[in-house]
C-alpha cells in the first residue's frame, strides 16, 4: 500500500497506469472479488508478522515475474507458455525462500512450505496469463505490484484480526492489557484455527460488497 502512495506522486504515472495499481486493491481485488489465493490466506494469517512477510514475498515474486514474462512475451511459444511461467515463478520463489532463510529464519520456519507454495498461488499465474503475456514491461510491473498489494492488504487485515483476537497481540507484542484477562477475558481459540480465516475473509467480502454494490453478482 505504501508503494502506492509514493509512486502516485511521480509524474510517470498516467491515469491508466495508476488504475493498474489501485484497481486490484479495491474493485478487482484478487482475493475478495476474484476469490483467488485463498489457501495461503487460510494458512499463514495466524500472526501479523508471517502475513507481512508473505505479503512482501508475493509482491517481490509477482512484480519480478510479471516483468520477466513481459520481457519474454514475444519469444515464448504459446504452446509451452505455462511451463515457462512456472519456471520463472519457481526460480523467483526459490530466491525469496533463500533470502528469508538467510535473514528472517524464524519467520521462514513458521511459513514453512507456504513460501514454496507461492509457486502455486493462482493470482500470480493468473496475472501472468491475463496481463504480462500481452502487455509492456512497465504496466506489467505496476499490475504485479497492484495485485500483490491487493492480496497483501487482505492478508494483513485477516492477520491483524486473527492475531488480535486469537493471541491478544500485534506483531507479537501484547496489546490487550493484563487487566482484561484478570476480569475474565480469554483469547479466542477459534481465531487460531483456519476456519476462522475463511469466515474473516467472508466477512471482508461481505463488507466490501455492501459498500460497492456494483460487485454484487445478480444472477
Amino acid at each position: 500500500m505504501s508503494d502506492n502512495n509514493i509512486q502516485k506522486r511521480e509524474p510517470l504515472f498516467s491515469m491508466k497506469n495508476r488504475r493498474l495499481l489501485s484497481n486490484p486493491i479495491g474493485k478487482e481485488n484478487p482475493i475478495t472479488v476474484q476469490v483467488l489465493g485463498i489457501c495461503s490466506v487460510l494458512a499463514i494469517t495466524v500472526q501479523l508478522k508471517t502475513s507481512l512477510v508473505m505479503a512482501l514475498s508475493v509482491v517481490a515474486v509477482m512484480a519480478l515475474a510479471n516483468v520477466i514474462i513481459s520481457l519474454l512475451r514475444k519469444t515464448i511459444p504459446p504452446r509451452i507458455r505455462i511451463i515457462v511461467q512456472l519456471i520463472v515463478i519457481s526460480a523467483l520463489v526459490i530466491l525469496v525462500d533463500q533470502i528469508l532463510k538467510a535473514f528472517v529464519y524464524d519467520v521462514s520456519r513458521q511459513l514453512s512450505v507456504f513460501v514454496g507454495l507461492i509457486i502455486t498461488n493462482c493470482i500470480i499465474m493468473g496475472r501472468l496469463e491475463a496481463f504480462a503475456l500481452s502487455n509492456k514491461v512497465w504496466p506489467s510491473f505496476l499490475d504485479g505490484i497492484g495485485n500483490a498489494a491487493g492480496y497483501g492488504a487482505v492478508l494483513l487485515a485477516v492477520g491483524f484480526i486473527r492475531e488480535l483476537f486469537g493471541s491478544g497481540s500485534i506483531f507479537g507484542y501484547k496489546v490487550i492489557p493484563q487487566a482484561f484477562y484478570d476480569i475474565g477475558y480469554v483469547d479466542n481459540g477459534l481465531m487460531i484455527l483456519p476456519p476462522m480465516a475463511l469466515i474473516t475473509v467472508g466477512v471482508i467480502i461481505w463488507a466490501h460488497r455492501s459498500k460497492d454494490k456494483s460487485l454484487v453478482d445478480v444472477s
Binding site: G184, V186, N188, G189, L190, M191, L193, P195, I199, G202, W206
Partner: protein, 399 residues
C-alpha cells in the same frame, strides 16, 4: 391482558407510516405479534387459515423444552450442593440455586440474539423472524452452567450473524444456529467447554469441595477410556448407573442430562406434529447400530460399553430430539429423513469412541449432516423422479 392490548393499540400509530418511530416499526411489529395474534389476514386467493402461526409453533417447542430446562436447573443445584458436601440440601434450595445460575444465561442469550435480529430486520426492512425464539432457548441448554456470560453473548451473536443472517435469515440457514453457537464456544474456548467444568463450584465463605470431587462427566470418562487411560472395569465403575443416567443426576451441560425430561419433550413435539418422529427414531437406530458394531469389534474399552448407554450419555438424546429435528436444517424428504437421522447416530458414536479429542460427537455429527441434508434430499427427489418416469413408461407400453 385488556390493559396491555389498549397500550399496544395506543402506541401503534406512531410506528405506522408517517409516525414518529416508523423506522422501528419492525421492532414494534415483532412485539405486537409476540403478544397477540396478528390482526392482518391474507386477502388474496384461497388459503387455509389457522390460528397457529409460526410464533405459536415456536412456543410449542419452548413448552417441549420446559421439562429439560426445569430439570436442568434443579440438576445444576444438585451437582453444586453435592460438590460442596451438602447432601441434605432441600429440593427448593437446589432448584433456586440452579435457577439463579441458569436464568442469566437465558436472558443473555435472548437479549444478544434478538438484538442482532432486530438490527438486521430494521436494516433490511423485513419482519423480525420467529426462529430465534427457539434458538435463544436452546443455546443456554447446551452450554455448561459455568460458561461466562460474555462468552454466551459472543457465541450467540456469532451464530446468529454467521449461521443465519448471512444466508438470509430464518429459514435460509444451512446449519443449526444453536449448535453453531456451541461449536463456536467449543473451538474458541475449549477450556470452558470440555473436561471437568460442568459443575458450578463457586464457594461461599466456609464452604469447601468434598474430597475426591472431580466433576468429570460420564463422557469424559469415556474419552479417557477411548484413549486407553481407563480399563473397561475402571470405566464401568466410573460410569453412573443406567437409572442415574436416564433420570439425569449426572454432571453435564444444563439441558442434556435427563433423558427422561427430554423424552417428555419429544412426546410433546411428536404429538403436536412439530418434531419429526422419523428423524428421532433413525438417530437412535443409527446410534444403536454403530454402538453394536463397536461392541463386536472393540479395540478400546469405550467401545465395549452396551450400545444403549450411548443414548443416555452426553447430548445424544437432546440432540436427537431438539437439534436434529430442526425443520430448516434437516432433510425435507421422508426417505431423506431416515438417511439423515441414521447417519447422525452413526457419526456421533464414531466420533465419540474413536476420537478421544472430541468426547461429544453429537454436535459435530448434526452440524456435518446439516451440511449434507440438501444433498440427501436432492438424490431422494431424483430417485423418485426416475422411479415415476419408469412407471409412466411401462404403463404407456401396457396401454
Amino acid at each position: 391482558m385488556k390493559a396491555l392490548e389498549k397500550l399496544v393499540n395506543k402506541v401503534k400509530p406512531s410506528f405506522e407510516k408517517g409516525g414518529k418511530f416508523h423506522k422501528l416499526h419492525r421492532t414494534f411489529e415483532a412485539f405486537e405479534t409476540f403478544l397477540f395474534v396478528q390482526g392482518r389476514v391474507t386477502y388474496t386467493g384461497s388459503h387455509i387459515r389457522d390460528a397457529i402461526d409460526m410464533k405459536r409453533t415456536m412456543m410449542f417447542v419452548i413448552i417441549a423444552l420446559m421439562p429439560a430446562m426445569l430439570f436442568g436447573m434443579w440438576n445444576v443445584g444438585f451437582q453444586h450442593y453435592n460438590a460442596i458436601g451438602l447432601f441434605d440440601a432441600s429440593l427448593i434450595d437446589r432448584f433456586l440455586f440452579g435457577f439463579f445460575k441458569v436464568l442469566p444465561i437465558i436472558v443473555v442469550s435472548y437479549v444478544s440474539g434478538l438484538a442482532v435480529e432486530f438490527v438486521f430486520a430494521t436494516l433490511r426492512d423485513h419482519e423480525v423472524n420467529e426462529g430465534f425464539l427457539v434458538s435463544g432457548m436452546l443455546i443456554p441448554l447446551i452450554v455448561p452452567v459455568t460458561t461466562p456470560l460474555w462468552m454466551v453473548a459472543l457465541a450467540t451473536i456469532f451464530a446468529v450473524i454467521i449461521g443465519k443472517e448471512v444466508f438470509g435469515g430464518t429459514g435460509m440457514n444451512i446449519v443449526n444456529p444453536a449448535l453453531l453457537a456451541r461449536a463456536f464456544l467449543f473451538f474458541a474456548y475449549p477450556a470452558y467447554m470440555s473436561g471437568e467444568v460442568y459443575t458450578d463450584t463457586t464457594l461461599k465463605a466456609g464452604q469447601m469441595l468434598v474430597d475426591g470431587f472431580s466433576g468429570a462427566t460420564p463422557l469424559s470418562f469415556g474419552a479417557l477410556a477411548a484413549s486407553g487411560q481407563l480399563s473397561l472395569a475402571e470405566l464401568n465403575s466410573s460410569l453412573p448407573s443406567v437409572m442415574e443416567m436416564f433420570i439425569g443426576y449426572i454432571p453435564g451441560v444444563i439441558g442434556e442430562t435427563s433423558t427422561l425430561a427430554i423424552l417428555l419433550g419429544a412426546i410433546i413435539l411428536v404429538l403436536t406434529g412439530i418434531g419429526s418422529l422419523r428423524i428421532m427414531l433413525s438417530v437412535v437406530a443409527g446410534g444403536l447400530f454403530m454402538g453394536g458394531i463397536f461392541n463386536l469389534f472393540a479395540v478400546n474399552p469405550f467401545m465395549e460399553i452396551p450400545a444403549y448407554y450411548h443414548l443416555m450419555l452426553g447430548g445424544f438424546a437432546f440432540g436427537a430430539v431438539f437439534m436434529a429435528t430442526d425443520p430448516v436444517t434437516a432433510s425435507q424428504t421422508g426417505t431423506g429423513k431416515y438417511i439423515y437421522g441414521f447417519l447422525i447416530g452413526v457419526i456421533t458414536i464414531l466420533i465419540r469412541v474413536v476420537n478421544p479429542a472430541y468426547p461429544e460427537g453429537m454436535m459435530l455429527a448434526i452440524l456435518l449432516m446439516n451440511v449434507f441434508a440438501p444433498l440427501i434430499d436432492h438424490y431422494v427427489v431424483q430417485a423418485n423422479i426416475k422411479r415415476r418416469l419408469k412407471r409412466m413408461n411401462t404403463s404407456t407400453v401396457k396401454v
